[in-house]
Structure formats: structure tokens, C-alpha cells
Amino acid sequence: MNGKEIIARRIAREVKDGYYVNLGIGLPTMIASYLPPGIDVVFQSENGMLGVGPPPLVGQADPDLINAGKQPVTELSGCAYFGSDESFAMIRGGHMDMSVLGAMQVDEEGNLANWMIPGKMVKGMGGAMDLVAGARRVIVAMEHQTKEGESKILRRCTLPLTGTHVVHDIVTELGWIKVTRDGLILTEIAEGISTADVQSRTEAKLAISPNLKTMAVS
């Protein structure tokens, strides 16, 4: 199981029956594939859909039916379409139970950066700023370090921010980190990893929960 799959599988266990959830582009989208059986969840896509289904079979893509990552999707029975203004009214209005999105950096205050690197890369924030400002619970799903081995969990973000004091939880292939007023707390750890390993790969200071558990990913 690779790192991304570990992260997606763990967060899938956190999604509860009856939730309305927005999954960001990339890794977060994988979560939909690992939902536990028997729970009823509605996925929202901010381009204007509730009830997003899995990707279509080859040759059956409908260009009028895409997700926010611009990938073809299908509709589940009972799905609904709406315009962008209403889509973000439901996001900003606090109707989404959970928003899971990727990040370039997160810090000890729950600040998040994921939309530009000055002078190098401009992608735009898309709906990320609205989602982190409006969802009831914001989970960052990302690999623990950059490809170059640098920490992405910092004392203070250095890139332009997407939101301030918005992240509730950070989930990486190494563990589950809760963002609290007193800083970051490691509450779950991946099997076979020591807390010293996690801290050595994290710039921010991690407190270790007295109830530290092994991260379950089945």
C-alpha cells in the first residue's frame, strides 16, 4: 500500500453516515473508493453537483458531466445540479460536514497554503479558500514531506496562505495530527513508525497524545 492509499483509506474511515462531503482534486478524490460498506454519503463537487458517482466506463464519458478536477464522473440516483453561486452558498453557509483537500504547507496554527509559489507557479485558489472558510470540518490530506524530503508541516507557512486558523486535522502516511489551540498533537501513528521518526520529518513541534494509537487503514 503506497502513502497516498494509506491516507485515503484512513480518512475514509472518518466519513460518517449521512455526511455531505467535498473532496479536493487529486489524493482526496481517492477517499471515495475506500468508504466502509453500509454508510450513505453524498459527495459534492463545487462546479455544481451533489451526488457525484464514480468515473464512467471507457467510452461513456459525458462532457457535460465532470467533477471539479475536470474529470468525467457519473451521477448517482437522487443527484442534483446547481449553479456555481448556489454551490458556494452551500459551502460558505456551513452546510458541508467535511472538506478534504491537499496542501503544499500547513502550520501549527492551522494555516494552510496550497495555491501558489511566488515567481514559480500560479495555479489559482479555485474553491479552496471558500471551502476552508465554510466547511464544518477541514481535513488536510497530503504526503508528509515534499518530493525533495522537506517538511510540509511547519512552524509557520512561508507560501501565500489559503486560509488562517482553518485546518482541524492533518493526515499523512505517517499519522494523524490534530490542530489545537495549543499546537499540533500526534494522535495516531502509522504501523512500524516511531514518534521520533515522525518528529524528525516534521519542522513543527508535535506533542504526542497520551492515547496515541496505531493508524488503522483497513
Binding site: 468525467p72 449553479g83 456555481s84 474553491g127
Partner: protein
Amino acid sequence: MNKVVESADAAVADILPGSTIMLGGFGLCGIPENLIAALVKRRITGLHTISNNMGVDGFGMGLMLEAEMIASHIGSYVGENRKLEQLVLKGELDLTLVPQGTLAERIRAGGAGIPAFFVPTGLGTMVAEGKETRQIGERTYVLETALRADVALIKAWKGDRLGNLVYRKTARNFNPAMATAAALTIAEVEELVEPGELDPDHIVTPGIYVKRIVVGERYEKPIESAFIKAHQAGSPR
């Protein structure tokens, strides 16, 4: 009342250089591709565009960018357009990035006679720099202003000669909001139907907002991920 125009070329014939233009669509989904093609033929310049994305290299608004028709752009995401990213990084195009929900609400407000409104989005980020903030209850909010345009080019699925429109699936996106926020809204549709054929309960954009309606001559409707792959494979760059 008959708002039908015979061709996309005729529908955009009097748009002036330097106009502010809203264009509906999300990525390549639900974009007014025939109206864009007609505008690209005219090669009018100095346009100020407002659209969530800017097409991709080789399609949609990407064609306007390549024809150097655009002076400034307001949008939320440019990730799939390499040409745009390069121009912005070199400082050759005036780009304003706005959070997607704020963009949608600024357009909605523009059409609804609401000059400004407060949102929590972007507080403490670059987006809020220089803007008024206010604490209301326990939270602090950022003041955002309405957007309007000279022209809105939108895409619907079906419409009638009165300008009543319905959309199809996620091709709706920004189109209905933009339809309300411009002095001149031009809608292209896949199918023109007789008044009364659209169920009045299902009409999303009432005809009052639409000044011209045209049947798109030809739809490519590329799927963005596949189009980018093919375009890059066949591209000399």
C-alpha cells in the same frame, strides 16, 4: 418577441474592443464555444475577461489568449493553461485571482443590485489585502464588491426565442449567474425550442436576462483531461 440571431458571428458582431466580457463555463465544460470562435475570428483586442478558468492551450478562451485579445483577466484557477501561467509569471498579463465562491457571489450580486457584501473567505490571506474587514458576531469578514460586465457570453442546453434557458448537468456552473450581470447577455444553445416547450417550473434563466440567443453551429465539447493530453502530444512546443 424574438431574440434569435441567425449566427454566432452576427451575435458578436458589435462587441467593441476594450469591452469587459464574462464567459460562462468551468474548465471546458459549459463554455460558449461557438461565440468564442466567432469572437476569435474578429480578433478584437484589449478585452477584460471574467471567467472561472481560461480554457486550455488550443481551445476555448485559450484561443483568445493565443490571439492576444485579452488585456486583463479575473478568474479563480489558471492551472491548466500553460500559456496563461507563463504570461502571468512574466508580468505580461494583468491577472486577478479571486476565490471561486467569491467570484460566483460577486457576479450574482452584480446581477441582483447588491453593490458589496461580507464573506469569511480569504481573511488573513493576499485576497483580503487592502480590503475593508468587519467583525460581525464572533467572526471577522472581508468586504467584496459586485462584478458587472458589458457583455456576458453564456452557454445553455435549450432555449426559446424569449430567452428562457435550461442547462444540462454540470455545464450549468457560472452561466446562470453571468446571464444576470451584463448589459448585453448573449446565450448560445444546442437546441432552440418553441415558447411553452420548456416546463416553466424548470426554467433556470428567465428570458428577461437574455438579449440575444443563437443556436451553436457546431459542438466539439472536448473533455479537458483527454484534450490536454492529445494537444500536448501533437503540439510542436
